[in-house]
């Protein structure tokens, strides 16, 4: 192993560079004063300033936030209940549910997008914010359920039993023992669902009507319609927001009980 170490380290370093290089270049060039050129023409914040005055962009941000908040609440409510419901089931039924809940996560997103679009068109529900929210709950619900269920399963069964022995009924055991123990997992799930919803492109792409442009849809159309330095600034901001959300989520989940 000693003889391998140097080569391994060099390759690993290069792979890390491959992972972070493009993102760093993107952030760096969001401060470049040059319009569309790779040559460095001095540092500027004007692309960031331009973002604040872009009305369409602000409207898209508002849509994204509304969708993320509502779908996160919906998915956390339904998914949390589903996880608690699973706890009372037999092991075989639990395994069946665990397996089925993975399906929405492995199925290609483009397929989930067209399936939802087809469904909404057939039931004649007009495409718009509502359909996007319904769709986002579909991919966030299994995510939330799995995250909460994983923690629930690891809880020491002696704790609720002890509460019951001390005379607590089912509700009080839940309220004062199980729920506080699950709180980090629930917050973690909320942040992950929020981030995934905020970042989603494909399901939104197929289920949003003309009036429901979200931030990723706006970024996509900006990229497609021609490169302006404003996208660099917007992208850099999005990188920071999602990384911040994830860092916070990991921090919460790591907190051991």
């Amino acid at each position: 192993m000693r003889r391998k170490a140097v080569g391994l380290r060099a390759v690993s370093l290069l792979v890390m560079l491959f992972l972070y290089g493009p993102i760093l270049v993107l952030i760096l060039y969001s401060f470049n004063a040059a319009h569309l050129s790779m040559a460095w023409r001095g540092t500027t914040l004007k692309w960031y300033a331009a973002l604040i005055h872009d009305e369409a962009l602000l409207a898209a941000t508002a849509n994204s936030l509304v969708i993320a908040v509502v779908s996160t609440i919906g998915a956390t409510g339904l998914g949390g209940l589903l996880a608690f419901g699973m706890e009372g089931m037999s092991r075989s039924r639990q395994q069946l549910l665990e397996g089925s809940l993975v399906l929405p996560l492995v199925i290609p997103e483009v397929m989930m997008g067209v399936a939802l679009m087809l469904f909404f068109v057939v039931i004649k529900l007009p495409l718009g914010l509502t359909t996007v929210i319904l769709g986002h709950i579909v991919f966030n619900l299994p995510l939330v359920t799995i995250m909460i269920w994983t923690r629930l399963r690891k809880l020491d069964p002696a704790l609720p039993e002890a509460a019951a022995d001390l005379g607590a009924d089912a509700w009080h055991t839940f309220r004062y023992v199980t729920f506080p123990l699950l709180r980090p997992a629930i917050w973690g799930a909320i942040l992950v669902a929020f981030t995934v919803s905020l970042d989603d492109f494909l399901v939104t792409f197929f289920t949003a009507g003309p009036g429901a442009t979200t931030l990723p849809l706006k970024v996509y159309s900006m990229i497609k319609s021609g490169v302006t330095p404003e996208i660099n600034a917007l992208s850099a901001l999005l990188v920071l927001v999602s990384m911040g959300c994830v860092a916070l989520s990991l921090q919460l989940q790591r907190r051991e009980v």
Partner: protein, 296 residues
């Protein structure tokens, strides 16, 4: 005593069944907005297309027969090829990294894993766009190459199959590293030492000791990279040209541009069959703990 026991069993049973009901709203939601739409896609894949788009409910297998057309066959086969190439590249890049992480001091391991995962959590569009800045005709890579005098005229890098594979590798590399890390971490370093002591060459140690013992992680990582690669849409859409269209782009094209929903649905089910085959392979391998979701 016995009566007391029976009573408590009944109470637990009744409690557990009461708790079961909590699962109902979530399950109904998934049935209504996931299973029903999928079933609908399946049904539509056997329907006919109306003259002006839309769906005519007449049973036909023509959509699947149409897929045998060389044009579609080509898209399907090079999608498979890109996905397999991506998987191979991820393995070549991911294995040394996973090995290094698993053999570094224990307190550094979570930090290094987090560093691998962090780019994955940034917006996929943004990450793909970053490669457009690098690969463009007047992008950073060409800028540097021309400035250094390595090439006379800028290279055509963007809108090529190479760009698509680079983008896919970039997007899904973390999925390879995590299961490999789990597998390597379980591999006893003494076995590798023993192989060296027996005068095995480096290659022999790798192919005859390390690879067989980390096989669950290798299969897991490959499947986890292959699945999103084969179903990708954004990467080939932004980085690829008209000739590097993949299955995902074909589905989008049939649905939104050609408005041939039955054909688009048939393509979707071919894609789903490929993905399901990969999932079955993953579960056959049996090592559930090598999954990406949870590894404290």
């Amino acid at each position: 005593m016995l009566a007391h026991r029976t009573a408590s069993v009944t109470v637990t049973l009744r409690n557990s069944c009461r708790a079961c009901w909590l699962a109902v709203p979530g399950l109904v939601w998934m049935a209504l907005f996931f299973l029903v739409p999928l079933g609908l896609v399946f049904a539509v894949s056997f329907a006919s297309r109306g003259t002006y788009g839309g769906i005519v409910w007449e049973f036909t297998t023509a959509n699947y027969v149409d897929l045998l057309h060389p044009l579609y066959g080509k898209i399907l086969s090079h999608s498979l090829w890109y996905a397999m190439l991506t998987t191979a590249c991820c393995f070549v890049l991911g294995f040394p990294l996973a090995y290094m992480i698993a053999r570094s001091p224990a307190r550094w391991q979570p930090v290094l894993l987090l560093l691998v995962m962090l780019p994955f959590w940034t917006n996929f569009l943004v990450r793909t766009y970053a490669w457009m800045i690098l690969l463009r005709h007047d992008g950073l890579i060409n800028h540097v190459l021309v400035s250094l005098g390595l090439v006379a005229t800028p290279l055509e890098l963007l809108y090529t199959p190479t760009a698509v594979v680079i983008g896919l590798v970039y997007g899904y590399l973390p999925f390879m590293v995590l299961p490999l890390y789990v597998a390597v971490e379980r591999l006893d370093p003494l076995l590798v030492e023993a192989a060296y002591d027996l005068y095995a060459s480096r290659w022999a140690v790798f192919t005859r000791v390390v690879v067989p013992l980390t096989m669950p992680g290798i299969v897991g990582g490959c499947v986890l990279v292959f699945i999103p690669s084969i179903g990708s849409f954004i990467t080939p859409d932004l980085l690829g040209g008209a000739r590097s269209m993949m299955i995902g782009n074909l589905i989008q094209h049939e649905y939104l541009v050609a408005r041939d929903w039955p054909l688009g649905s048939a393509v979707s089910f071919v894609l789903m069959a490929v993905v399901m085959a990969a999932v079955v392979l993953y579960y056959r391998q049996g090592d559930r703990s090598a999954g990406p979701v949870e590894r404290r």
